[in-house]
C-alpha cells in the first residue's frame, strides 16, 4: 500500500476500506488506487480547505455540555466510507422491514394492543413508559405511518456483519450532514469522485416534501407544509434551516403558529394563513402546553386539538418515542416476526434488559465487559463502556444499576468496524457507525447511504457528535 494508506494499521478490526485483514474487497479498488496516488500533505491541505469552508458556512452543532461553545463545526473527515451494492441492498431491505415493524407496533399500542395482550412485549414496559402518550389512542394516522422520518443506527462487527444498535423514531437528526458532506466531497475532491458511480443523495428534500404532502389532510390545492423548529438556540437549528430550504417551505417557530377552530394557521404579513402539514423538530413534551408541558413556550396551544380533529398532520406522529426506547429495542426481533411473519434481515446487538433479575445479575457480574446504557437518554449521554471505564466509573455505574435497574440495558461491546481517517496529520483507523434515513408516507424510501459517524478519539467507540465524533461522506456504489 502506498500513498496516504502506507502506514495504515486496521489492527484486528473489520475495515470499511480494506475488509478483513489482508483481504481488500474489489469494490473499494478504484478509491484505494486514487488514495494511493495522493500524498499526506496534499490530503491534509485539502482537508483544511474543506474545514475552512465549513467554518465559513457556519455549519454548526450546539453542544449542550460545553456552555460557551454555541457554534462548533461537526468535523468532516475527507476519506469516504464505501458500501458495496450488495451490502446496501441488504441494509435497505433491513431498514424498510424495521420501519414497517415500528409503524405496525405503534399502530397496535395506540389501537388494539394485540402485541401486548399476546405477551410479545410486557404491557407495563409500554404503557408505563414515559414516552407512551395515551392522548394518541385511536387518533387516526395517515397510511399508518407514525415514524415518517426514521433513522436506524447500524454497526458492523469484526466479521463485517451488520446489526442494529438503535432505532431513532422521534426526530432523528444528521441528514443535512449527509447532503453537505457529499457537496463538500464533490467540491474538494473532484478527482476522487469522478468516474466512480456513486448513488446520489440530493433527492432527499423533494422526497421529504412529498412525504409531508402524502400525510396532509385533504385540502383544496397544494397543502401548506412548514418545518417547526424550537429556534436558533437548538443544537440542530442548522439542519432545520437546511431542510426548510431543501423543501422550499417556511421555517416556523411555535410563536408563528396559532390554532383557531381546531385549525392551524401561521402569522404572515397579510394575516393568518392555513397550515396543513408540519414537520416538527420539537419533542412531544413541548408541542402543546394545553396537553403536555404547560410551561412550554416553544409549542402551539391547541395543536393537539387540531391534530385529533384531523385538520393537521404532524411528522413524526406524537408518541413514537416509546418504540425506539432502548428497552423496547430488545423485543424488536420478536416484533418483526410477530407483525410481518419474517426473520429480521438486520439482527439486533444482544441486549440484557436490566429490569429482568437474571439480566441484572449477569450485567453486574460482567460489568467490565459490557456497555451499559440508560434507556431514556439520547446522544450518547450517560453511557458506561465497561472495557474503557475506570474503577470509579464502574462503581458509580454499579450503584446506579442497583438503585434503578429498570432504567438500564446492557450490551456486549461490539468490535465496531473501522475506516481510514485523517487524524492529526496521519491516517489512522477509527471506529464508525451508520445511520440510514427512511422516509415513510404511502410507502418507505431509504436515502442511499446515510450518515457515517466516526469516533475521532483513538480507541473510542462513541461516535456521537456531542462526544467528540465527526462524520464522513458515505458512498453507495451504483
Amino acid at each position: 500500500m502506498t500513498g496516504v494508506l502506507e502506514h495504515y494499521d486496521q489492527a484486528a478490526f473489520f475495515c470499511e476500506m480494506l475488509g478483513r485483514s489482508g483481504n481488500p474487497p474489489d469494490y473499494t479498488g478504484a478509491i484505494r488506487e486514487r488514495l494511493a496516488s495522493l500524498d499526506l500533505a496534499a490530503l491534509q491541505r485539502r482537508s483544511e480547505d474543506a474545514e475552512r469552508e465549513l467554518y465559513n458556512l457556519g455549519i454548526t452543532f450546539t453542544v449542550y455540555s460545553e456552555k460557551d461553545a454555541i457554534d462548533r463545526i461537526l468535523p468532516f473527515d475527507v476519506i469516504p466510507r464505501v458500501l458495496s451494492r450488495d451490502d446496501w441492498a441488504t441494509l435497505e431491505a433491513g431498514v424498510i422491514q424495521r420501519v414497517a415493524t415500528l409503524n405496525l407496533f405503534l399502530a397496535d399500542i395506540y389501537g388494539a394492543q394485540k402485541s401486548l395482550k399476546d405477551g410479545i412485549v410486557p404491557a407495563d414496559l409500554v404503557l408505563g413508559n414515559a414516552n407512551y402518550r395515551p392522548e394518541m389512542i385511536d387518533v387516526p394516522i395517515a397510511h399508518g405511518a407514525y415514524t415518517n422520518i426514521c433513522g436506524i443506527d447500524v454497526v458492523r462487527d469484526d466479521q463485517g456483519k451488520f446489526m442494529v444498535l438503535e432505532d431513532n423514531a422521534r426526530t432523528p437528526s444528521g441528514v443535512s450532514y449527509v447532503l453537505e458532506n457529499r457537496n463538500m466531497m464533490l467540491r474538494a475532491f473532484p478527482d476522487l469522485t469522478s468516474d466512480i458511480s456513486i448513488r446520489p443523495v440530493d433527492d432527499y428534500g423533494p422526497r421529504l416534501h412529498s412525504t409531508m404532502v402524502e400525510i396532509a389532510p385533504p385540502c383544496d390545492g397544494d397543502p401548506q407544509v412548514v418545518l417547526l423548529s424550537p429556534g436558533t438556540y437548538n443544537s440542530a437549528y442548522f439542519e432545520h434551516i437546511f431542510l426548510a430550504r431543501e423543501m422550499g417551505v417556511p421555517l416556523v417557530e411555535g410563536r408563528d403558529l396559532v390554532v383557531e377552530n381546531d385549525r392551524v394557521y401561521m402569522k404572515t404579513t397579510g394575516g393568518l394563513q392555513r397550515v396543513h402539514s408540519i414537520y416538527r423538530r420539537l419533542n412531544d413534551d413541548f408541542l402543546d402546553p394545553e396537553v403536555f408541558r404547560p410551561d412550554s413556550t416553544l409549542g402551539v396551544p391547541g395543536l393537539m386539538r387540531a391534530y385529533r380533529a384531523g385538520h393537521v398532520a404532524l411528522a413524526n406522529a406524537i408518541g413514537t418515542g416509546v418504540a425506539d426506547d432502548k428497552a423496547v429495542y430488545a423485543y424488536m426481533p420478536r416484533l418483526v416476526k410477530y407483525f410481518l411473519g419474517e426473520e429480521p434481515i438486520l439482527p439486533n446487538v444482544e441486549t440484557y434488559i436490566c429490569r429482568e433479575p437474571e439480566a441484572l445479575a449477569y450485567t453486574l457480574a460482567h460489568l467490565e465487559e459490557l456497555v451499559v446504557k440508560p434507556v431514556g437518554e439520547a446522544g450518547g449521554y450517560g453511557i458506561t463502556v465497561g472495557p474503557k471505564a475506570t474503577k470509579e466509573e464502574l462503581e458509580r455505574c454499579r450503584a446506579l444499576l442497583i438503585e434503578d435497574p429498570a432504567n438500564y440495558i446492557s450490551q456486549p461491546t461490539i468490535q465496531l468496524s473501522v475506516c481510514p481517517t485523517l487524524v492529526e496529520g496521519a491516517v489512522e483507523a477509527r471506529h464508525v457507525d451508520l445511520r440510514p434515513f427512511a422516509l415513510t408516507g404511502k410507502s418507505t424510501w431509504v436515502l442511499p447511504g446515510g450518515l457515517t459517524r466516526v469516533a475521532l478519539r483513538r480507541g473510542s467507540l462513541v461516535v456521537n457528535s456531542s462526544q467528540g465524533g465527526g462524520s464522513k461522506d458515505t458512498w453507495v456504489l451504483g
Binding site: 458556512l57 430550504r245 417551505v249 404579513t269
Partner: protein, 327 residues
C-alpha cells in the same frame, strides 16, 4: 403561494437596518477622525456621543469622551447596543434566522465578516488604524449589499429589506449632517472660512458624495449647498429625499403587488415628510434651525417604523408617546 412570516418580515427589515447602521457608523467615525486632525480636534469626539443620545450610558463607563474611549465604545463595546460589533452581531443573528430565505453566499459573507470583526482587539483600533479599519467595515457592508442585490429572491422579503435599508439611510444621513451642526455651534464666526469648507468637503466625501456634489455644483462649496444636497437632492443615493421617496414607492408596491393594504398609517407619515421636503428650502432651514429639522425627520422615521410594526410585524398598537423602535 405562502405568505411571508411576519417574524421574517421584521427580521429582514432589521437585517438591512443593522448593516446600514454599521456602515454609517464607520462613516461617522471616519469623518470625525478627519475633522479631529485640526486644532479643535479634542472637541469633536463628545459630539458623537451626543448624536446617539448616549450621554448617560457612555459617562457611566468612561470619564471623558476622548478618541480612544469613543472609538472603542462605538466599535468593539458589546455593551453598547449601537456599537458596530452589536450591529454586526444582531445582523448575523438575524441572517441566521433568515437562512431559509437568503442565499448561502449572503449568509457566508456575514458570518465571515462578523467572525473577523470579533477577533479585533483594542490594539487594532488605534487612531492610526481607524481609517483603514473603517474602509474595511464599509467594504464588508457594501459586499453584503452587493450579494443581496444579486441573490435575494425579489418577493415580499426583498421589499421589507429595502424598507429597512432606506429608512435607516435617511436616518443616518440626518445624523451625519447633525454631527457637523454640533461642531459648528460654538463657532458661528467660522462659517464660510477656508477651514470650514474643508470640513464640509470631508463630510461629503464620507458620504461618498463629493463627486456627485461637484456635478451639481461645479464651483464653490457652502454649508447650505452641502446640507441642501444631502437633504433635498433627488438622485443622490444617500439623500434624505431619495430615501424617503424610495420607501414610499416600495411600500406602494407591497400594497399593490402583495395586497398588503394595512400600511396606510406609514404612508401617511411618509407623505408628510415628502411634502415638507418638497416645499422646503435649505436657507429657510438654516435660519430656522437645521438641528430641529433633522430631529423632526428622525421622529417621523420612528413613527414610520412603528406603523410598519403594527401593519405587518404583528405588533400591538403603540400607546401615545411610546415608541417600539428597537435600539
Amino acid at each position: 403561494m405562502a405568505r411571508l412570516l411576519a417574524r421574517f418580515a421584521e427580521e429582514t427589515f432589521w437585517l438591512a437596518r443593522n448593516l446600514e447602521r454599521a456602515e454609517n457608523l464607520a462613516r461617522i467615525l471616519d469623518v470625525n477622525e478627519t475633522f479631529s486632525r485640526d486644532a479643535r480636534g479634542s472637541q469633536n469626539w463628545p459630539s458623537i456621543v451626543h448624536l446617539h443620545a448616549d450621554t448617560e450610558r457612555f459617562f457611566k463607563k468612561h470619564q471623558a469622551a476622548t478618541a480612544n474611549t469613543v472609538i472603542h465604545y462605538y466599535t468593539l463595546d458589546p455593551d453598547n447596543p449601537s456599537s458596530i460589533i452589536s450591529c454586526l452581531s444582531a445582523a448575523r443573528a438575524g441572517a441566521r434566522t433568515l437562512r431559509p430565505l437568503i442565499s448561502t453566499e449572503l449568509w457566508t459573507q456575514i458570518n465571515v465578516f462578523h467572525a473577523w470583526f470579533k477577533t479585533l482587539t483594542p490594539s487594532d483600533i488605534g487612531r492610526s488604524d481607524l481609517s483603514r479599519l473603517c474602509a474595511r467595515i464599509k467594504e464588508g457592508c457594501q459586499t453584503h449589499t452587493g450579494i443581496l442585490e444579486g441573490t435575494l429572491y425579489r418577493d415580499e422579503s426583498w421589499h421589507f429589506y429595502e424598507l429597512g435599508k432606506y429608512i435607516e439611510r435617511a436616518d443616518q444621513t440626518t445624523r451625519l449632517l447633525d454631527i457637523k451642526y454640533h461642531m459648528l455651534l460654538p463657532s458661528v464666526a467660522d462659517v464660510g472660512s477656508p477651514l470650514d469648507v474643508s470640513q464640509w468637503n470631508a463630510l461629503l466625501r464620507s458620504a461618498a458624495g463629493y463627486h456627485a456634489f461637484r456635478r451639481v455644483h461645479p464651483r464653490g462649496m457652502s454649508p447650505g449647498g452641502v446640507a441642501g444636497f444631502l437633504i433635498f437632492n433627488p438622485s443622490f443615493p444617500r439623500s434624505v429625499m431619495l430615501s424617503v421617496t424610495t420607501v414610499e414607492e416600495i411600500l406602494g408596491r407591497l400594497r399593490q403587488r402583495y395586497g398588503l393594504r394595512s400600511g396606510y398609517t406609514a404612508l401617511e407619515v411618509l407623505d408628510g415628510i415628502r411634502g415638507t421636503l418638497a416645499s422646503g428650502d435649505i436657507h429657510d432651514l438654516l435660519r430656522s434651525g437645521l438641528h430641529e429639522f433633522l430631529d423632526w425627520i428622525q421622529v417621523q422615521l420612528i413613527k414610520v417604523t412603528d406603523a410598519l410594526g403594527e401593519a405587518y410585524f404583528g405588533h400591538p398598537p403603540a400607546t401615545e408617546g411610546q415608541s417600539q423602535e428597537q435600539q
